[in-house]
Amino acid sequence: MDITTAVQQVPLNNYIVLSIMLFSIGVMGMLLRRNAIIAFMSIELMLNAVNLLMVAFSAFKGDSSGQVFVFFIMVVAAAEVAIGLAILAMVHRNSGSVDINHLNKLKW
């Protein structure tokens, strides 16, 4: 069985609901958790929800451009995490903590 028909065995609506759930978990994690590493993981979860949705749509539409877009998202996510972890290392060196609540030097 080729991969496209395997993906199509599950109805499209289930993919949409699953990725909306994953995306919402990512958003809530980002908004509620105070640990910077967990915030990073939440962002990754959001991006992976998008990847799942793109691949599902791509299989159902029979159009490969969605999968190419997923490649780009993966590469950009890796670059983003590399930069993000470097920034986090810098914050840790300057403030000695990775708790978001401690970052309150700048306030309006």
Binding site: T5, F71, A89
Partner: protein
């Protein structure tokens, strides 16, 4: 064999019942074993017992001491260069097909990948020149 699988119909929910039964059995076994050993075994707590290595060399220092930033840099660089492979995958899949079209298409294929690899290589040369990979 492949033809048989291809005509397989969409599975109904009750087809998954054996999996659920197995899941319950597995979880019950794991939980049961942990509980059983908790009650059966004797409890002795001493400093030697709580050591990470009960026998062997003595530990010294904290496991969470800061270590060289070099490890971090190498790990991050590995992730970046590793992920670039993704773009070669669709290229490799279509490689044979493009080659069979003719010399022109094959040459185009080659030039495009050379440009991509050239850019990645520039990044690598920059990393080396910057001295990131020097360990001394």
């Amino acid at each position: 064999m492949a033809a048989e699988v291809a005509v397989a119909t969409i599975s109904a929910p009750h087809d998954y019942l054996p999996i659920i039964v197995q899941l319950i059995v597995v979880l019950a076994f794991v939980g049961g074993t942990i509980l059983a050993t908790h009650f059966l075994g004797p409890k002795r707590k001493s400093k030697a017992k709580l050591d990470p290595f009960e026998c062997g060399i003595e530990i010294h220092g904290n496991a969470r001491t800061p270590f060289s930033i070099k490890y971090f840099l190498v790990a991050i660089l590995f992730v970046l260069f590793d992920v670039e492979i993704i773009f070669m995958y669709p290229w490799a899949v279509n490689f044979k097909e493009n080659l069979s079209v003719g010399f022109e298409a094959g040459m185009n294929n080659f030039i495009q990948m050379s440009i991509f690899l050239g850019v990645v290589l520039l990044g690598f040369i920059y990393v080396i020149k910057k001295g990131v990979l020097k360990w001394d």
